[in-house]
């Protein structure tokens, strides 16, 4: 137990460093882009003096290093600053939108795992048979479909032609279905393939033969011995893929006008609104670090051979 706590502390410390470097990197990229948010907002008729005045008001006349540390100092007090383009508190903006993003990614993850684990198991058991080949080809096709295209296709079929699901925005559970499926489908292939290959690997293990030799039936061997061991990397993958999915959500949220963080991030980037971009990247990085730690801890719980050190 002591080892585990020490492990978590060590990883959290590393996580803080990661978050710091990521924010520095994002800040540099934002600075490297030509122009700044004020230039993008003001009309050409506004006088240069007025523009300079507004910039000074936002602190944009300061050297980038000063700007960065000013932002960092505020973060440590829990203040993400004011959005330049929307003129709202970034903390409020993120808190408003985070639940929607988590709802979308959570639903996508559920679909992804609930579908791909049984399919992966099925394909592994029927290795080389028609089922296996069909599933493998299908998932590769899905994997190759860009979400923005898949999303538009779904809207066309289910919202415009069939008129059975809402087109976009958030209006209760039915409006969650299309974006969640769009986000989940391309990722299905990954978990399906991981499950299939892990199950096949474990089926070759000697302890599976031992279980058969003991007189354990087919179904029980498959569930208790094969699946139990094959699920270790698949479960860890669940936690590792969560941040990835949030990244993927940026595109899907924009296609479906989903009121989540991804859409906000998109707008922030387009308007060079660095408090928004910095704030959201900050949140995603923290989620990534935390999910990684949870993934390691879960691996340690599922596999008694792993010791967290």
């Amino acid at each position: 137990m002591n080892d585990t706590l020490r492990f978590i502390a060590k990883r959290l410390l590393m996580g803080v460093l990661v978050v710091f470097f990521v924010t520095v990197l994002v800040f540099c990229i934002m600075q490297a882009m030509p122009g700044d948010p004020i230039d993008l907002m003001v009309d050409t008729r506004v006088s240069a003096e007025k523009v300079a005045e507004i910039k000074a008001q936002w602190g944009l006349d300061q050297p980038p290093v000063v700007q960065y540390f000013y932002w960092l100092g505020n973060i440590l007090h829990g203040d993400f600053g004011m959005s330049i383009s929307i003129k709202q508190n970034v903390t409020d903006l993120i808190l408003q939108r985070l639940p929607y993003t988590l709802m979308l990614t959570g639903a996508a993850l559920m679909i992804e795992y609930l579908v791909s684990i049984p399919l992966g198991l099925w394909a592994a058991v029927r290795k080389g048979k028609a089922v296996d080949k069909t599933l493998t080809v299908t998932t590769v096709v899905l994997w190759s479909m860009p979400p923005f295209w898949l999303g538009v296709l779904f809207m066309l079929v289910f919202s415009i032609n069939l008129k059975i699901l809402p087109l976009s925005g958030y209006s209760g559970f039915p409006s969650l279905i299309l974006p969640a499926v769009t986000l989940a489908l391309p990722m299905l292939a990954q978990i399906y393939r991981l499950t299939r290959s892990e199950v096949l690997d474990v089926m070759d293990e000697k302890y599976v033969t031992t279980a058969y030799a003991k007189g354990v039936g087919d179904k029980k061997v498959l569930l208790k011995h094969v699946l139990r061991n094959a699920m270790i990397p698949v479960t860890v993958m669940f936690f590792l893929s969560l941040p990835w999915l949030i990244g993927g959500a940026v595109v899907v949220e924009n296609v479906f006008a989903w009121p989540g963080m991804g859409q906000l991030l998109w707008k922030g980037i387009a308007k060079q609104d660095f408090p928004i971009v910095q704030g959201i990247i900050f949140v995603i990085t923290i989620l990534t670090v935390v999910c990684n730690i949870i993934g390691d801890i879960v691996a340690g719980i599922l596999d008694p051979r792993i010791r967290l050190e």
Partner: protein, 326 residues
């Protein structure tokens, strides 16, 4: 006539590979009698482990049992359904494997794995735990309470093999198949395991089919021996006869190749040549190419399985002409 626990008749196992059909086990026949230890001996790849897996019907694709009978308890196991065979495994025939390090499931405790087979029989959980605990004592594991809660990676290889033996004996099967049970273990630990197996088979009166390439183990534990070469069983006899007057040239050469401390010879004898490729169909004896006594006939047809003296069987043409003299 002693009761035969296991009677294998003309068992053939083929592997269909991209390079053709490999006859890994070709018409192998032998039997194991009640309370007896029968050793199947041969070099790597001769089909001895495959034979054992065939008896248990644990052959995996691309291997298939292409013929023969495995008579156990009056019925042919090869004719049983999958469910019926599941009922035979563990209850009637137990099996332990070569590598105890990977033979136990890493995510379950020793206790959970020991009791799993017992729980198949709808035994009460508490009672199963009790039986498993007693069995661990029988296989000479100390600190049993603690060990029941240990995970496999927390105990040594020798101890894991003891757990395997205990796990397979706790349902008191009539036959225990031990596939190279000591190969992966240190020499000192090997001796302990063999001693334990000897002791337990007396206590439980199980017949044992042991697969090994080690004649030292054969001498220690076996009552009768079957020698396999390239998928064929070439000679069976009781253990004294095999060591004393082997008939088949391969067995004789094997005996010569054994290192001894009494023979004051500098070099160890070896058998020249290599094992034939079993994917190629050959009309004659599989050993003909390496055999110092090979005749024209040996390359043209397969020698028949003959009883050359009571209880001593051999498949070699030399036996027929009675010319098997050196």
């Amino acid at each position: 006539m002693e009761e035969k626990v296991l009677d294998v008749k003309n068992l053939s196992i083929d592997f269909h590979t991209s390079r053709g059909c490999v006859k890994a086990v070709d018409r192998v026949s032998f039997d194991v009698k009640r309370g007896e230890v029968f050793a199947l001996v041969g070099e790597s790849g001769c089909g001895k482990s495959t034979t054992a897996m065939g008896i248990m019907q644990l052959i995996r694709s691309p291997g298939i049992i292409s013929g023969g009978e495995v008579v156990f308890g009056g019925r042919d196991l090869l004719k049983l359904s999958r469910e019926e065979m599941t009922g035979v495994r563990g209850r009637d025939i137990g099996m332990i494997f070569q590598n105890p390090l990977d033979s136990l499931n890493p995510v379950y405790t020793i206790g959970a794995q020991m009791t799993e087979g017992l729980l198949v029989e709808k035994m009460d959980k508490k009672q199963a735990w009790q039986v498993a605990r007693d069995m661990l004592r029988d296989v000479k594991i100390s600190d049993v309470e603690q060990r029941m809660k240990s995970f496999p990676h927390e105990i040594s290889g020798g101890m894991r093999q003891r757990v395997m033996i205990g796990m397979m004996l706790c349902r008191n099967p009539k036959l225990l198949i031990a596939d190279e049970p000591t190969t992966a273990l240190d020499v000192t630990i090997q001796a302990g395991i063999i001693e334990l197996m000897n002791e337990l088979r007396r206590k439980f009166n199980s017949a044992v089919l042991i697969i090994t390439h080690d004649f030292g183990i054969v001498a220690d534990i076996a009552d009768r021996v079957g020698v396999m070469y390239a998928g064929n069983l070439i000679e069976t006899a009781d253990v004294m006869t095999i060591f004393d007057r082997p008939r088949h040239p391969y067995t004789r050469l094997l005996m010569k190749a054994l290192p001894t401390i009494t023979k004051d010879e500098g070099r160890l004898e070896t058998i020249k040549g290599t094992v034939p490729n079993l994917a190629e169909e050959r009309p004659g004896c599989n050993f003909a190419d390496r055999c110092p006594y090979a005749m024209q006939k040996c390359r043209e047809q397969k020698p028949e399985w003959k009883e050359c003296e009571p209880g001593h069987f051999c498949a070699c043409f030399l036996e027929e002409g009675g010319t098997a003299r050196e």
